[in-house]
Structures are given as C-alpha cells and as structure tokens.
Amino acid sequence: MSLLEVGNLKKHFAVNSGLLDRLRKNESYVHAVNGVSFDIKKGETLSLVGESGCGKSTIGRTILGLYEPTAGDIYYDGSRVGDMSEKEKFKLKEKMQMIFQDPYSSLNPRQKVREIISEPIRTHNIVSREEMDDYILKLLDKVGVDGSYLNRYPHQFSGGQRQRIGIARSLAMEPEFIVADEPISALDVSIQAQILNLMMDLQEEFHLTYLFIAHDLSVVKHISDRVAIMYLGKVFEIGDKKEIFDHPVHPYTEALFGSIPELTEKTKENFVSLEGDVPDPIQLPSGCYFHSRCKYAKDICREVEPELKEVDGRQVACHLYD
C-alpha cells in the first residue's frame, strides 16, 4: 500500500510576471518540475537524486504544501490533498515533517532548544503543558543530545548537534512521513555518518517513511530502498536501488555515476564523463531534455519526449530502449 502517491506533478515559477509583461504576453516561467509521478510505500525510503536545478527540492516542498502545485495530484494515504479542507490539511501537517539542509539557518538563533522543539508541539497540541519537558527530554535522548542543554541557544552547538535538534523537532509531531532535504550535505564527513546512522535507527524504531533528497550518490545508495534519478524536472530512471546502482540504464544515470569521486590508490585517467551544462529551465529543450549532452542521441531524441517504460526491472525514460 503506498503512503504517498504523486501523479504528473508540475511546478512552474513565474518570472517576468508583472502587469506589463502579462499585457504584452511576455511572461516566462522557470519549469522546475515537469510532470513527475511516483509512489512511496509505508516504511520505505525513496531518494530523489540529481544535480542542482533538477527540481528535487521543489518536489519535496510541494508535497509538504509549501508550494501550490501548477498541475498534478498528490495523494496521501489514499486521499487527494487538493480536496482536503483546511482543517484536514492542518492535521496532515502533523504526519508530514521536514528535515532541512542547513542546521545553521533552520533553527531560530534567538530561541532556546526548549522553545525550538516545543513550538510545534504547542501549535498542534500534542502533549499538555505539564508533560512538555518530559516529552522534549525523551525526544532529545532519542536523537542523542544531552538533556541538560535544554536552555542553550543553537549557536552553542556544533553542526551535527544542531541537525540532531532539527530532527528532534520534526519527530515531536510523531510523523509518519519525513522529507529530508539534503540533511547531511552541510556537515563534515565524520559527522555525516553519525546523522545517517541516526536517521536509519529512527526509521526502524518509529516506522518512518522517508523521501530523501540528495545529490551525493554514495549516501543515497546507503539509505534508500528505491531511487529516482532526475534531470530538469523529469524522472529519467526510477526503481529498486540495487538494480539501478548495479547496472544503470539511462545514459544520464551512467554519466552521473561515472562522475562521482571514488577512493583510489591510482590517479584517475579520464575525469570527464559528461560535457556541457544543464539547459536553461526557462526555455526547455525539445524532445528528450538530455539530448544536447547525450552521446547516444538520435534524431527521435530531438523531437519526441520519451515516456517512462519498464526496462530491466525499473522504469526508464529513454528512446534507446524503444
């Protein structure tokens, strides 16, 4: 049973949308997400992977209701989020939480740890005032932060500790579903492993479902059950982690995997696996969005947009497999 289902989701951001531009029919849009569909099963971790500008964070934020989708549907536990009343949406926000990238800007510097964590608890009336401190201490214990730090400010903590506090805040809602947007990319390597391990422990203990957003593939491989590779607001390849990592099928996935630095004793000979830059998301290319950089591109790739279809036990959008 899927907990979350996304169907043909689109999100475009207007640029040049002033009155004059509209009168002159001069409006243009950043096409951040261009028709994305996937589902996430209960207890599963799906990772969205791609380079900056591929729309992965926009999807996460749209699912959480931080952006209105331009088109498409989001179903949570079988019900369409767009049809929900404000009251139902408010209830839904308890079940869906977010872990942010930057633990330096996602915690209010003027609030103490106690206030940071208790604010959402009070808003959503999770526990009574008397039980509050006990509840917060229990949460801090779960994420490995010393309970005696309750009255400290964020700047008194290290990056890793701050990220733990952010995680405690999202756990306070007893959520089912967590969007983790690059939760470890601002941290040092030795601390990254600590936070990843913590997230996996919490998932087991509380049966959490994760949508994990990242650009670091080795981390993604580590934490996910399934992976979606994105490019310019489209899913190019989606499927079981093991299938995709053992044997990437889409040319972009292949190039992306080839670009990741790997620990080696010998100096690498050939670094470049992909020439050029990502196209402009305002003027989307015709056909397959990847054709300008793809070494296998054929005529059809320039004209017809490929659909996702089953190849080798996963879904791939590429004309090579027609």
Binding site: S52, A193, N197, L263, F271
Partner: protein, 332 residues
C-alpha cells in the same frame, strides 16, 4: 634523480588572536611540493587546511597572524619578503583558485577585463595583445565562442563556466605553483569532474605544481600525488597517495576512509568516528584526536611529531605500524 623542490614549508604557525583567546589554526606544519607534483590537503572544516593555503601567500588578515615558520618558494623565504616583492609573486608565480567563483570574480567587470588585468600588470602585455591572449586562455579552459564570452559579465555565465574563467585567470601568468582551495565544492558532480579533469590536464601540460585543498578524500585520491591529512591544526598523516590510501596509519585517517559510504559495497550501518573535533580555543595537550580514538590508552605519548611509517609515508601516531592494514574495502 632529485626532483626540483618548488616549495618547502617549515614549522609554519598561524594563530588568530580572538577575544576569547588564541586560536591555533595552523600549529607547526612542514611539507614540501616538487615540480609538477600535486599535493592534496584533506581535513574537516576547522582543521586548518585553508588557513595553511592562505598563509603560503600571506593572505592572513587581522586578527590572524603568521607567528613562526618558513615558506621557501624556490629557496626564497616568502615570509621575509617586503609587500612589494610579495606582489610580484602573488597571482604571478603563485596563483590561487578559490572555492566560490561568484565571490572571487568581480561582478561589475567583464570576464575579459579580469583576465587582461593580470596580463597587463604582471606580464607587461599591451591592451591589444592582452585581449588576444585572453581569448586564447578562454579557449584553453574550454569555453565555447570565447570571442563573445570575453565581453560577458560573470552573472551571465553558469557556475562551471565561472570556475573555468577563474582557472584562466590563475593560469594567465604561467604560474609555477597553483593553490586551489576547494575549487569544485560549489559545483555539481558532473561539472566537478569536468573542472578537475581540466585542471589536471593543464597542470600536466605546463608542468605546474599544485596544492589542492578539499574535504573530499575521494576526490583528492583521484588527482593528487601526495596527500596530507590535517586535524585541528596539525598534519597527522602525510605521504605518497597510494600508500596513504591503501595503508592509512593514523586512526583518524582510517576512520575517515572507513566512514565514507562506498558505491561498490553493501552495508547497513556506516562506521562512524565518535564525537567531534575539539574546540580550537581549548585544544588538549598531546594528541588532539585522543578523545575520539578507539585505540587511545594511558600509554599514548604526545603525538605531534610525524614519524616514518614507510618510505615516503609519515604519521603522528606512534602506534601507526600496529594499525597499518589494508582496509577490507575494495579500494581500486
């Protein structure tokens, strides 16, 4: 054959005098770079790797101060030079590439203006020749239609292209040493691969030496000849890349390698180094890694001197030989 030594650093110390006390960011480091060689400096934030790089060019500002040491560039001590002599070295004999191309390029000057500036100042080019040379340089770093791009402003270029421009500026004066401080951290992986590949090619072509600073040990292992691992202001391991990666001697280096998730390996939990780096204001006596080290015991001596592990491979931990092992992790 003895290789030509380009840079020799002896016991360099850079301290920051803050209100809370003295921060010993670089606490007595010594290393050398030979001609055509790439030295990689690895460490976590706060390890002192960038401050080391900046100290070499004397780019340390108040409240920081280079308190001791020697930086010998082709036999001359840069720390003893006058500011005027230093200006002939900076951006000419030794160039620097910074992390963020958006902040290291001037947003209100065209790309061409920023490249020709170097050529006119350091190499006595005429304005016309400088422009011609700038087009060549842009072409060399892989920018398409350089005649057009030369009149563009940095904001009109993508992140990868901006970093290519920065490289063109750094190489404009044919430097003998290039210091690259996290040159690809702000870029995506496919662009990172392009930029690292470009830098490696150009370094090989001109037989330039390079110091590349990064937090990414995997990236360093792909490009460097020698690696230097820093921790809390000290070099804790230093030596030939192959040896250091295959037989890391210091428990911190071992932990760093072990905590990297590896694409080719299945594992449920990552090995983690417990704890965090000690506060630079309050460094412990002796070995600074002791509180996080699995092997630490009461016999741990003061681990501040590098000792030889094997030929061309040094580490500060006296237990080094005992732990030195081929890690079971399919390093290629």
């Amino acid at each position: 054959m003895q290789k030509e030594k380009i840079l020799e650093v002896n016991d360099l110390k850079t301290y920051f005098h803050t209100r809370e006390g003295i921060v010993k960011s670089v606490n007595g480091v010594s290393f050398e770079v030979n001609k055509g060689e790439i030295l990689g400096i690895v460490g976590e934030s706060g390890a002192g790797k960038s401050v080391t790089g900046f100290s070499l060019l004397r780019l340390i500002e108040e409240p920081g101060e280079i308190v001791a040491g020697e930086v010998k560039f082709k036999g001359q001590d840069l720390l003893k030079m006058s500011e005027k002599e230093m200006n002939k070295i900076r951006g000419n004999k030794i160039s620097m590439i910074f992390q963020d191309p958006m902040t290291s390029l001037n947003p209100v000057l065209t790309v061409g203006r920023q490249i020709t500036e170097v050529l006119i100042f350091h190499q006595n080019y005429s304005r016309k020749d400088a422009r011609k040379r700038a087009v060549e340089l842009l072409e060399m770093v892989g920018i398409s239609s350089p005649e057009k791009r030369i009149d563009h402003y940095p904001s009109q270029l993508s992140g990868g292209m901006r970093q290519r421009v920065v490289i063109a500026i750094a190489l404009a004066s044919n430097p003998e040493l290039l210091i690259a401080d996290e040159p690809t951290t702000a870029l995506d992986v496919t662009i990172q691969a392009q930029i690292i590949g470009l830098m490696k090619n150009l370094i090989d072509k001109f037989n330039t030496s390079m110091i590349i600073i990064s937090h990414d040990l995997a990236l360093i292992s792909e490009i460097a000849d020698k690696v230097m691992v820093m921790y809390a202001g000290d070099i804790i391991e230093y030596g030939d890349k192959g040896k250091l990666i295959s037989e890391p001697a210091h428990p911190y280096t071992q932990g760093l390698i072990d905590s990297l998730p590896v694409l080719g390996r299945d594992q449920r939990r990552l090995n983690q180094i417990k704890g965090i780096m000690p506060s630079p204001l309050n460094l412990p006596e002796g070995c600074k890694f002791k509180s996080r080290c699995d092997y630490a015991d009461d016999d741990c001596p003061d681990c501040t001197e590098l000792i030889k592990v094997s030929d061309g491979h040094f580490a500060t931990c006296k237990k080094a030989q005992v732990f030195s092992k081929k890690l079971m992790r399919g390093v290629g």
